[in-house]
Symmetry: C2
Subunit: 303 residues, 2 copies
Amino acid sequence: MKTYFDCIPCFVRQSLDAIRSITADEEVHENILREVLKMASEMDLRQSPPAMAQRIHRRIRELTGIRDPYLARKNQLNRTALDLYEVFHERVARSDSPVELALRLAIAGNIMDLGVKSNIDESHIKKSILNCLNVPFDGQVEDFQREVDAAESILYLTDNAGEIVFDRMLIEQMPLQKITVAVKGGPVINDATRHDAEMAGLVGLVEVIDNGSDAPGTILDDCSPDFLDRFTRADLIIAKGQGNYETLSESPGPLYFLLQTKCPVIARDLKCPVGTMVLKRSRASQSVNKEPKTATSQTGAGE
Amino acid sequence: MKTYFDCIPCFVRQSLDAIRSITADEEVHENILREVLKMASEMDLRQSPPAMAQRIHRRIRELTGIRDPYLARKNQLNRTALDLYEVFHERVARSDSPVELALRLAIAGNIMDLGVKSNIDESHIKKSILNCLNVPFDGQVEDFQREVDAAESILYLTDNAGEIVFDRMLIEQMPLQKITVAVKGGPVINDATRHDAEMAGLVGLVEVIDNGSDAPGTILDDCSPDFLDRFTRADLIIAKGQGNYETLSESPGPLYFLLQTKCPVIARDLKCPVGTMVLKRSRASQSVNKEPKTATSQTGAGE
């Protein structure tokens, strides 16, 4: 997805929000603000929003000298999510439709995104998770299930710390030997890295790799050759969150996006309201005939 | 008032909103967006927000080649307000507290501000006007009235087209021979110019001057010597709207601000919620002893 004009003021606002959450030094706030404005004034709008966010957050780390400014918040999100895991993984196990419930929870976990708003409190997370159990969810769960069953190798692209614990609940509903989980190659916002996969209990459960990139999404040109090889060879890719949608929406699949729409630009792109739980097969997947193991009807929540 | 960091993303958003309301040409949208970002990256934050807005809207006029991009919308706002005038000036005349009602209406009229949002529909205006009649209004109307009575010369700084018709209702409650109404020296957003004072029926009723400036506020350094002379000599200044507050909040008075708070930065500065109807004597006025004709207690709505 290209960067829309409307993304630009939002970048500026988010950058200010981010830097304020990292340091109280107003001189750093002003430096970041001015640099973001200058970067944005010159940016190539054919790039996806995460390309810009990658540059901004690299600069925030440089200017503050903090390697991982979100570390404490990421750990807290993981702990909150692990508490919720205790409650919900039993519930999934007892459910009549465990895959649907696990899908709902994995998408609900996508609320734990500090890129949109740099602070998010526990009560908001819990409310959002509980809410996800009841909202309409028009995703084609059966199609998803069929593609999971047919695939021999599944690459699961995680999004955020905290959320990754909810990803585990979905992953546990799939044949574990098929799954490779990918995290980011380095810290950016609260995106999950290997450390978070460890906290979530995924390391040891399934294979965990990193993508070699510190972009808050999956910019293929920025990923490692090893990751690209896995990406190309996977029978099915599951991509979590807005950042992965923004960077992979035009990518050939088979690829499922699981996300909550948190901004009007993406909601418009997905033709659904802000706040929708989305399970959507990649548009680009439709025309790709890479071993068409299942019907590839487009799926989506709230459409 | 200086420009706060939070004003910057808002400038960018408002500029995009403004240029979209003027032309559908996406190349012009992109040009304006990039120029605004570059200007903002270099701007002197000690300047008030209207100084930046002045530059942005000059550039919009240059790039589009349209001398007064808001003309049609200003005329429409004046017509809407004139229809409402028919209803309300009778109501003011019959009121037990006509000055308070006229103050309320003049402040309510401040909703007609296309700087905050470039389109505003008639039903929203009507709703806002009716609402103003009932909301709490803690302004010190008696102090205001006393200062009006004591002053020999009153300079009334208007804000927007449409709103200026509501200003007329307040002006009609004051001794007309004392009043000079000031409008902007040239078009900027939907700020009132001489043309709007004419449509509002103020020309002929009171003296109307312009301030020689095309800033959406009153940047004294940018105003004409004639206007400055009037500004300095006036016994009392009545300043409408956020732009005048932003540019004159530190100016020695005696000066009353009449506005609706439409942004969180100004609301914070005025220590009241967004959407408050404000009648406030300038802080700077407190320490000035220019013929202290009345008690100069600070006044404000919703504080």
